[in-house]
């Protein structure tokens, strides 16, 4: 006892010195501290990526005994260089909420009862097999997440697509990243950014497109602010639909009416061409012009189907298309003054300025999400500001492995770990690596996320296994999908770490290991794969999602495909998965390399990471002998698209006269199932609210904290008002964060989606307000 106390005092002594050093020498780092404290036997420090957003900050987890007790930023991780945000610093506390799920539960006679996890897994396997036998292979589904580790998603895809023969595999990244994927695929033929976070250290202008980075990607925003402070001629332009903390820090904010970013982007292109700011050498060598279908719908009806068709057009046709988008015309649609549009265009057009555009949910959760992604690429392509340090159109991600697991492993209905189910060569590769008959892999995609939950409601899907996500909070038009999940002959399995509204609809709850209670890998926004070891034991009978799937796969008779040992299954899975990406375009680091480093960017060829793709100075896959090689498209060019402005699926009218915009706050992550169990974060923002413009609030007769009823065509909700808080919407708009399960704002939202990406638009629907 005395020894423990003495060790503790030495740790306190070291902490005190480190804290003192921090105040005397700002930015000082003690990256080797963990080695010293290891010697004391009190606290050891081990690397991991942060559990929360898609930035992928490296953290060091302090462990005492079998408990994670502290977090510090990993100074060896180039993403955050030792910095964390408030969620990161408090992340380990999310492991230890009082109501952590530690036992499996099964619904018996209407009530959930504890059972041994092996018994629960038996039931999952038998119910899955029974449903499949009775209703066909497409009556069973798995719905995962961008918080799935890479091995989680890989085994899910292998079991459902490879062994069970259904493409009913989706992930919640459909709700946050699908438009980014289709944007990349249609413009470049390959997914994921060409640039990296180092662009922040080179750019002169940052344009945030509908992106509140100060709250959503605070560490990257801090890097931007630090660059603005340290370098001359650095600006931040906030292009937004409401005033936020990003606006407070920006050099200029341009507010646009929802959905009209499409028109403004085209107006910027118009100005670039009109003023001859086009980089003709780049355009002539590396760009081709295309158009697709228009008036493409919104997907609000069941069985909605859409397939775009690309048609080549000439530069002249593209220029004529832009005639409808003069800044003066667009001012009338967007509310952005023509002079501000011209100013924004001049920043992109100035050859002396390096420009990086950042976006996330504002552009992706958009009924024309693919189009607006295309249009921002158009701007960068016309001026040739792409794939070089500081010149980057950069799509950020919201989850730690939306890229690594969902986009790279391909846990979407149309995807495989390499390529698409519709492509025979890709199916052959998967069948060979998975050791399954080629005929097992269905060439036809089935349901994207919204349609998957519609199918559950209709009864086309009878069995669904939900892992690491909380759709009974996040699905738009939520009531329909919750009612569907509760229907009598549906069987819902939920693997999670805490009780949520989704476990409320479950027939089986499987307690899951969380984050560093298991080994795994995430993949962040900048093509960085990040390994983490198991640092502490999971509580009770909690089990990794990967191993849960393996257990069920073996019960279903797929021992051969899932033969790994519990001792090294993550390493074996990684090395099997890595085969899908062999080659210079997507080569991934070995397990051995990943386990030693704080993340590795792919393509990783001959021991070297790739910072900028399509640029032969950095990218080993370039082979055309030119200054750039856009090798993703068949014509070896990047595609500029003529995409028009089309209105939102639902806009305010005389009956429902406000826009509803939904989103996040810095303290809470997604549905708050983890961060609301961290006392500091919960107490900082204990409940959700509705932001109103002060004039709208005055007209309604409400003051801060008074209750407002928000009513849409789908539902209504009563919640407290926030006026002149951290965010201020313009007149005629309200904003609600969705982290609070006490206020299910998605009962009000609309399940319209981008017809190309199938990603819903959570940023725009029509509501009316009443004082409650």
């Amino acid at each position: 006892m005395k020894l423990n106390r003495r060790r503790f005092m030495k740790y306190v002594a070291a902490s005190s010195a480190v804290a003192s050093a921090g105040s005397l020498f700002p930015g000082i780092s003690f990256g080797d501290w963990q080695q010293v404290v290891n010697n004391s036997g009190l606290v050891s420090w081990q690397k991991a990526p942060c559990r929360f957003c898609g930035t992928g900050c490296g953290v060091l987890i302090g462990v005492s005994g079998n408990r994670a007790i502290a977090v510090k930023g990993d100074p060896n991780c180039s993403v955050n260089k030792g910095l964390c945000c408030m969620k990161g610093y408090h992340s380990v506390q999310a492991l230890y909420g009082k109501d952590r799920l530690v036992k499996a539960q099964v619904r018996k006679n209407g009530s959930m009862v504890d059972v041994p996890i092996q018994e629960a897994l038996d039931l999952v396997a038998s119910k899955l097999a029974e449903t499949r036998d009775k209703h066909g292979k497409d009556s069973v589904a798995i719905y995962g997440s961008g918080q799935w580790t890479i091995p989680d998603g890989y085994v899910a895809s292998k079991l459902f697509k490879g062994c069970l023969g259904t493409n009913n595999v989706e992930a919640n990244a459909r709700l946050c990243m699908a438009s980014a994927v289709t944007g990349f695929m249609t413009s470049f033929g390959l997914d994921e950014p060409m640039g990296c976070y180092e662009d922040i250290d080179h750019a002169n202008v940052f344009v945030t497109w509908g992106n509140n980075m100060a709250e959503m990607h605070p560490v990257l925003f801090s890097r931007m602010l630090a660059n603005r402070k340290q370098r001359i001629n650095v600006k931040i332009i906030d292009f937004a639909t409401r005033l936020t903390r990003t606006s407070q820090a920006a050099d200029k904010t341009l507010l646009f009416k929802p959905q009209t970013d499409l028109a403004v982007a085209n107006a910027i292109c118009y100005e670039i061409i009109k003023n001859d700011w086009v980089n003709w050498d780049f355009v002539n060598s590396h760009v081709s012009f295309h158009k697709g279908k228009t008036n493409i719908g919104y997907g609000t009806e069941d069985h909605f189907s859409f397939q775009d068709e690309a048609e080549s057009i000439s530069l002249e046709e593209f220029v004529r298309f832009l005639d409808d988008y003069t800044p003066e015309k667009v001012e009338k649609v967007s509310g952005v003054p023509a002079k501000d549009i011209k100013y924004l265009a001049s920043l992109y057009g100035d050859p002396a300025l390096k420009v990086t555009s950042f976006w996330c949910m504002g552009m992706n959760q958009h009924t024309r999400g693919t189009w607006i992604n295309n249009l921002v690429y158009n701007i960068h392509l016309l001026v040739g500001k792409i794939a070089t340090p500081g010149n980057s159109p950069f799509s950020l991600t919201g989850q730690p492995s939306a890229c690594g697991t969902v986009r790279e492993v391909g846990t979407l209905t149309q995807s495989l770990p390499h390529g698409l189910v519709t492509n025979e060569e890709d199916r052959q590769m998967a069948a060979e690596i998975w050791d399954v008959p080629l005929g097992n892999i269905d060439p036809k995609p089935t349901y994207h996320t919204v349609e998957m939950f519609r199918a559950l409601d209709r009864g086309d899907i009878k069995f669904i296994w939900i892992q690491v996500t909380n759709p009974m909070v996040t699905m738009p038009n939520l009531k329909r999908y919750r009612d569907g999940a509760l229907k009598d002959d549906r069987f819902v399995v939920v693997s999670d770490v805490y009780p949520t509204p989704t476990t409320d609809v479950a027939d089986v709850i499987l307690p899951a290991a969380m984050w560093v209670e298991q080994e795994g890998m995430f993949g962040n926004s900048e093509r960085r794969t990040q390994h983490f070891g198991q640092i502490v034991d999971p509580p009770g009978e909690a089990m990794s999602d990967t191993w849960q799937i393996i257990e069920v796969a073996r019960r279903l008779g797929f021992e051969k495909q899932f033969s790994w040992s519990q001792d090294d299954y993550i390493e074996k899975i990684w090395e099997e998965y890595r085969r899908f990406h062999a080659g210079p375009k997507h080569e991934m680091a070995s397990y051995e390399v990943l386990s030693k480093r704080s993340g590795v960017q792919w393509p990783f060829v001959d021991g070297k990471e790739t910072r900028w793709r399509y640029n032969p100075e950095y990218d080993p896959a370039c082979s055309n002998g030119k200054d750039f090689d856009f090798y993703g498209q068949k014509d070896n060019r990047a595609w500029v698209w003529a995409r028009p402005y089309e209105p939102a699926a639902e806009s305010p009218d005389s009956e429902y006269n406000f826009w509803l915009n939904t989103g996040r706050v810095i303290e809470h992550w997604h549905t708050g199932s983890m961060t609301r169990r961290v006392p500091v974060l919960h107490n900082a923002v204990p409940e959700a609210y509705v932001e109103l413009h002060p004039d709208d609030a005055a007209e309604l007769g409400v003051v801060n904290g008074e209750k407002v009823k928000i009513i849409s065509r789908r539902g209504e909700i009563v919640m407290p008002a926030q006026i002149n808080g951290r965010g201020v919407p313009p007149r005629g708009m309200v904003f609600v964060p969705f982290f609070d399960e006490q206020y299910l704002i998605n009962e009000v939202t609309l399940d319209a989606f981008c017809p190309i990406s199938k990603q819903p638009d959570y940023k725009k629907c029509a509501v009316r307000l009443e004082k409650a």
Binding site: R6, M9, K10, V12, A13, A14, S16, A17, V18, A19, S20, A21, L24, F25, G27, I28, S29, F30, G31, D32, W33, V36, N39, S40, P75
Partner: protein
């Protein structure tokens, strides 16, 4: 049986030497900063005699410019 922690500042260009000197000095543990010429020194001596000897040894280090006390604890007090 005192425990102290200090910020140790090396003479110019002698950070590595100071690290090595302190690491080989009895009752000392060091945590060097990886981006500044600063070293955290934690000392843990069994008695007053050892503490006195240690203080003398620290004063004699050529690579040490200054020591700034940040924490002190003595379980006799």
């Amino acid at each position: 049986m005192p425990i102290f922690s200090y910020l140790a500042i090396p003479v110019k260009g002698a950070k590595e030497t100071l690290c090595a000197d302190l690491s080989t000095t009895p009752h000392c543990e060091v945590i060097p900063s990886d981006n500044q010429d600063v070293i955290v020194l934690v000392t843990d001596t069994p008695d007053e005699v050892a503490e006195t000897v240690l203080q003398q040894n620290l004063k004699n280090l050529q690579s040490l410019q200054s020591l700034n006390l940040t924490f002190g604890y003595d379980d006799h007090e």
